[in-house]
């Protein structure tokens, strides 16, 4: 299965988008704060913007302009949503991890579950 390579940071950003898009809050500042809060890393805005750009290029997220707010000086947000492809990619990664974890926890099951992730 040929998938675009997704870096670890990109994966975190993509996951954050997936979480925040539910409240229509998946935009630069909110994503940055969410990641800082969840991971404790010191992330800067430019990094998030760059990652989102790369994700959009890869077709994992798409974006549109949202409503303007006063504290942004009347500027609009760019709101991101995860595309179907992005969602599949996240699932694939998750499945690969689950598969490895399950083998790590139940070494005997590993053979029976071989083609579990081929879907």
């Amino acid at each position: 299965m040929k998938r675009s390579y997704l870096g670890e940071f990109e994966e975190i950003v993509l996951l954050t988008v997936a979480v925040l898009e539910l409240q229509k809050q998946a935009y630069g500042v909110a994503i940055t704060h969410e990641i800082i809060e969840q991971t404790g890393r010191s992330v800067r805005l430019n990094q998030i913007h760059a990652a989102l750009d790369r994700l959009e290029d890869k077709g994992m997220v798409k974006s549109e302009m949202g409503e303007p707010t006063a504290e942004r000086g009347g500027r609009r947000k760019r709101l991101f949503t995860v595309t179907a492809y992005g969602r599949r990619t996240l699932q694939d990664i998750q499945e690969v991890r689950v598969s490895f974890w399950s083998r790590l926890l139940n070494p005997l099951n590993s053979i029976g579950q071989r083609d579990w992730g081929m879907g």
């Binding site: 935009y27 630069g28 500042v29 940055t32 704060h33 800067r44 805005l45 430019n46 990094q47 913007h49 760059a50 750009d53 959009e56 290029d57 077709g59 798409k62 302009m65 303007p68 707010t69 006063a70 504290e71 942004r72 000086g73 500027r75 609009r76 947000k77 760019r78 595309t83």
Partner: protein
């Protein structure tokens, strides 16, 4: 917000960031700043802000966001796609494309030709710089209860206007009548049309002087020549200062050469201007009219340029009584009313009825404008019809396009780009057509229109034209086709038919209504021309030659010429008269006879002829006899026409004594006896009744020589012999002759022109309609292929099928006939009512036009229907 982030940082960012990133990045940064202010205070937030900003100054943020596949493609790409699809569609259906482009091209060519024609008509006379301020002085006069309007005015009017109304005018110029005159320089003699005009005329006309100046008419013995006249008299030699002779009467010096007046000016045949003063000096009667202030002698023209600060209407009102105030008491009853006829109206508004302007040529301009619009409409209807007829085929395409995400506006755009493509193609073809047709058109319409390649307004108009036609032709398919529901179309339950065909049928009816109206109109115009041409002339115009006696050298040669010509055997008879056979040059009043009603203004056409005139032209006598040399008393004999008998109200005209003049006049009245009554001789307008006329016997007051050729000889040989005899007997005058029948034919020129143009347009309209019908019938035939196959299998004959398929179209054409007939009837009776002598609107013209249209329709449709009916049913049914 109390706090605001560092402005310099913002500026920096704005400068470097790509345009499409600025908003979101700055927005995020500001939001972050305010959050940081709350968290760590403003000072540290500002530092942080600077840090963030600097981090954004990287190449990846200074370039535009890369285009994404999920985003909307740009307009250019879409248009390119539309055009590509349009091209493919055109190329795949070559026949229909040809019909579409061809029909539209013909329609556009017609509309553009008419446009060029109208432009030419509207720009008539605009060559003159003071176009808007030039006018001819005219007058209304009331006689026998009718108001007549004329441009002939009395001689003292100019002085009167200058003296009492001078402020209103910038220039005034008297003139006589434009006509052919002989100009000679050495041995060279040419006949040219020109006029004697006042000193200020060149200024009024703003003549472009190539040599000399506009005041070249100051000296009485001077002349201004047009460039072409100068060229034919002097070749390349300098004409300035050369002495030439006019009509063998006066020697004049060339004082200027002006650029030829362009063809679309009223005075384009004015090829020389001699001074009015010279005319006065050489014509005693003119001098008398001026010196004695003869207000009753309306024999001259007066042109003016009004002052800059006034209007035509104001001046017209002010000078109204300029003549009435001066005429003798007994002439007050004519209620002479002087007015201005502006140059801008000369061409298009020159008809008066009872003193009220009633249009003129403008009616034809309007008529053809309407025709042009309609022909274009026909072509557009074709396009719309063919597109909608094809809709069933294209419905699938529309369905698929919609299913894959095309929105309606995109489909509308697609159909519009298709129609624009066709229109642009058609425009190209139309220009080629115009280039090919222009010589023919110029000849028929008597124009000198050139294709306006460098005329910016023309191209702007063409662009508008393309846009309007594109929108008009494309609107129906664009909005109709794009409204299809993809589900229905793709499921196969979609059928165009029933109600959907109604607009198409309406359009066909409109098309044929226009075409049939044009056919009926053309037929009636030709019928009217023919009817008038067949009107009894009252003389025999066969082999009748007329020659104007332009030079004094002609006079006194009557007997010599007659003997020589008769001896040569080329003529049967010769005579002279004061007027040509195709016009009356003189009208006079002041006649009275026993039993005349005192209130009647006795106005007659007066014609002076020699003894043999009746024999030469073939007068037909109702009563009495011709002039004869046997009666010496015939010098006081007159012959009158039937109209005169009716006008005078006398029962026994023969022997009636007519008195001309009044006892109070300085000249003694003259008495004449009627010796003969002839059938009316048609000399003036062939559409109007012949005016009462009196023929006198005279050998002095004559201007024309009439020759009746010997019918036993060929005309061309006779003319050659006649020329040699004239060269011998009248060596100083050039030999110019006119055939009476051809001159008479010229009276129909304008009607024939209209007839030819209307005929041409009618043919084109029919052609366009048939083109559309042809395409349409092929579609219906194609749509019903299966049905025809099944019918054939069940035993239908080819005739059955043919009538089945043709019936629909025939019904439409019959409806069109029913609509067209009353419309045509209404407009044609309006048109005919302008003519006193007119043809009847007979029902068979209408029936014939309808039948003609029906036959053409059947022929057009049959090609397709018979083809469809002949197809082997096996072929058409095999596919299922």
């Amino acid at each position: 917000m109390r706090h605001s982030p560092p402005q310099l940082a913002d500026k920096l960012l704005r400068f470097f960031l790509a345009d499409d990133r600025r908003e979101e990045v700055l927005g995020d940064l500001h939001e972050e700043f305010h959050w940081q202010v709350r968290r760590v205070g403003e000072r540290r937030a500002r530092w942080r802000y600077w840090g963030d900003v600097l981090r954004f100054l990287k190449p990846q943020f200074t370039t535009q966001r890369t285009p994404n596949h999920s985003r909307k493609p740009s307009n250019i790409t879409m248009i390119r796609n539309y055009l590509k699809v349009a091209f493919r569609n055109l190329a795949r259906h070559k026949g229909y494309s040809a019909i579409n482009v061809g029909g539209l091209a013909v329609g556009m060519a017609v509309a553009m030709l008419i446009g060029l024609w109208i432009y030419d008509e509207l720009s008539y006379n605009t060559y003159h710089k003071h176009y808007a301020r030039i006018a001819q002085v005219m007058q209304h006069q009331t006689s026998n209860g009718h108001v007549g309007s004329q441009n002939a005015i009395p001689a003292p009017l100019e002085d009167e206007l200058r003296a009492k109304y001078g402020d209103n005018f910038k220039h005034l110029a008297m003139a006589t009548w434009q006509g052919d005159r002989i100009l000679s320089y050495g041995d060279k003699k040419i006949t040219r049309s020109g006029n004697y005009m006042g000193v200020e005329m060149p200024d009024i006309l703003s003549l472009q002087m190539m040599k000399g100046s506009r005041n070249g008419l100051k000296e009485p013995n001077s002349i201004l020549l047009s460039a072409s006249t100068a060229q034919s008299l002097f070749g390349d030699a300098n004409p300035m200062g050369k002495l030439i002779n006019i009509d063998g009467k006066a020697d004049v010096q060339v004082t200027g050469v002006y650029e030829d007046l362009p063809f679309n000016t009223e005075l384009h045949e004015l090829t020389f201007i001699a001074p009015w003063k010279l005319f006065v000096a050489t014509q005693p009667w003119v001098k008398r009219a001026l010196d004695k202030r003869e207000w009753g002698n309306n024999s001259f023209q007066l042109f003016v340029q009004i002052a800059d600060n006034t209007t035509m209407e104001t001046v017209s009102t002010r000078i109204r009584n300029a003549k009435l105030a001066n005429v003798p008491a007994e002439d007050k009853k004519y209620k002479a009313e002087i007015f201005l006829h502006p140059m801008s109206d000369w061409r298009l508004h020159s008809n008066w009825d009872e003193g009220v302007q009633t249009g003129g040529y403008i009616q034809y301009v309007q008529l053809f404008a309407i025709v042009g619009v309609f022909v274009l409409l026909l072509a557009c209807i074709n396009f719309m019809n063919l597109s909608t007829a094809r809709s069933e085929k294209r419905a699938k395409e529309v369905g698929i396009r919609k299913a894959v995400g095309s929105v309606r506006s995109q489909l509308i755009n697609q159909f519009f780009s298709e129609s624009f493509l066709v229109v642009v193609f058609a425009f190209g073809v139309a220009i080629l057509l115009i280039l090919a047709l222009l010589p023919w058109f110029n000849e028929v319409a008597d124009k000198r229109i050139v294709f306006p390649w460098t005329n910016v307004p023309f191209w702007l108009a063409s662009l508008t034209f393309i846009v309007v036609t594109g929108l008009l032709a494309g609107s129906y398919p664009a909005f109709y086709l794009s409204s299809f529901q993809p589900i229905k179309v793709l499921k196969g339950t979609f059928k165009v038919g029933g109600l959907a065909a109604v607009p198409r049928k309406v359009l066909v009816v409109v098309q044929f209504t226009v075409s049939i109206t044009l056919i009926i109109g053309t037929s009636i115009v030709y019928q009217q021309i023919q009817h008038t041409k067949n009107r009894p002339l009252g003389y025999d115009s066969n082999g009748l030659v007329m020659m104007q006696m332009l030079s004094p050298a002609f006079y006194g040669k009557y007997d010599v010429l007659k003997t020589d010509l008769k001896n040569a055997g080329v003529i049967q008879e010769m005579a002279e008269s004061s007027s040509p056979l195709t016009g009356v040059w003189s009208n006079n009043g002041g006649f009275s006879w026993p039993g005349k009603a005192p209130s009647l203004d006795s106005d007659f056409s007066t014609i002076w002829v020699t003894h043999d005139f009746g024999k030469t032209v073939g007068w037909q006598f109702k009563e009495g006899r011709d002039f004869s040399r046997k009666f010496t008393t015939d010098s006081s004999a007159i012959i009158i026409n039937e109209a005169a008998v009716k006008f005078m109200g006398i029962e026994h005209p023969l022997g009636t004594v007519v008195k001309w003049g009044d006892d109070s006049d300085t000249n003694k009245p003259e008495y004449f006896t009627i010796v003969g009554v002839i059938k009316d001789v048609l000399a003036e307008s062939p559409y109007e009744p012949v005016k009462q006329a009196i023929y006198f016997l005279d050998y002095e007051n004559v201007n024309w020589i009439m020759l009746k050729l010997n019918p036993a000889r060929s005309a061309s040989q006779s003319i050659a012999t006649i020329e040699s005899i004239f060269k011998k007997d009248v060596p100083s005058a050039p030999f110019n002759y006119k055939f009476a029948d051809l001159e008479f034919g010229k009276k129909f020129a304008s009607e024939e022109r209209i007839g030819k143009l209307a005929g041409g347009f009618a043919i084109l309209a029919i052609f366009i309609s048939c083109l559309g019908l042809f395409g349409l019938s092929s579609f219906t035939a194609e749509q019903r292929t299966k049905e025809i196959g099944v019918r054939k299998v069940l035993g239908a004959s080819v005739l059955n099928l043919w009538s089945l398929l043709s019936k629909d179209f025939v019904v439409l054409v019959i409806i069109a006939c029913l609509i067209a007939s009353p419309i045509a009837y209404y407009y044609l009776s309006e048109w005919l009512s302008d003519y006193d002598y007119r043809t009847e609107l007979s029902w068979w013209v209408f029936a014939g036009s309808g039948a003609g249209a029906l036959i053409i329709t059947l022929l057009t449709v049959s090609f397709q229907t018979i083809k469809a009916a002949l197809v082997n049913p096996v072929k058409s049914l095999r596919s299922e």
